[in-house]
Symmetry: C2
Subunit: 158 residues, 2 copies
């Protein structure tokens, strides 16, 4: 795949997130892409990301997948809504104001997980993303991310 992921456009000094920063060498380095009007991210969990159930993923993993894919989706959606090229300045980087997850089925660790995002609302500095997390045909979790654009002057100062 030669296409750049949403996260590959984040400014360097905002690219150290353990979930999705390309510059966090220990992190999960999630990669999100457009798939039509939706967004998609695939991730192979690590064997030690176990949850309470043997062989299943822990809540923080699932939360991170939905959270990081949600803020990435918000960034891409905002660029698209403004008719701008991904990564053009000023950068559109989002943080999470609110995260809601419903855990519907245990999330296996032994296969690639798929996270999908749908843009529910874009209004001012806020983007709301609805997300699903699936393992094959099994819907493991549903979530909602309310993402807020980081002020331009804050990013410039860092």
């Amino acid at each position: 795949m030669t296409e750049k992921a949403f996260q590959d456009y984040y400014p360097d000094n905002f690219s150290h997130c353990y979930g999705c920063g390309r510059l966090n060498k220990d992190g999960m380095q999630l990669k999100s892409y457009w798939d039509g009007a939706e967004t998609v991210c695939h991730f192979q969990p690590r064997a030690n990301q176990t949850g309470g159930f043997p062989g299943m993923g822990y809540g923080g993993l699932i939360a991170s997948l939905i959270d990081c894919h949600g803020t990435a989706t918000a960034s891409a959606a905002k660029y698209r809504a403004e008719g701008r090229e991904m990564g053009s300045n000023p950068p559109l980087r989002f943080v999470t104001a609110s995260l809601k997850i419903d855990f519907l089925a245990p999330t296996p660790l032994d296969q690639v997980l798929e996270v999908r995002g749908k843009i529910t609302e874009i209004k001012g500095r806020k983007v709301i993303v609805a997300a699903t997390l699936s393992a094959g045909e099994t819907l493991c979790a549903k979530g909602e991310v309310i993402a807020v654009l980081i002020p331009e002057n804050y990013m410039a100062e860092k």
Copy 2:
């Protein structure tokens, strides 16, 4: 501290959670305790658990702290409500059905974080816990965990 944490009473085969399992050697091994009618957990973040903001924690870390402390609080609250000793059989181990987090301020990585839990409701197999996450005087996040008791026969089979 010689007092055992809630997580130290979990059955061995349900003690591999990356967030709170005492048998996950790579994990965070969170420890939760009673503090009167509330519960408390302290955790020193790791330097690589960075979020989008430089020097601040990532969403999955914050979610995991609230999630794991929430299910531990649910377990302890259920034992207490039934007048039973922690760890007595059958084990009372909970999973998360729903998790909601409001991120109120960036969470620093350079100090010990405090997670507190309050039991909002105990009804049948369900326990609802309201949680806060603070760094010193700063309230960084608020959350709600809806936890559900794992069926006894499921635990016995594993």
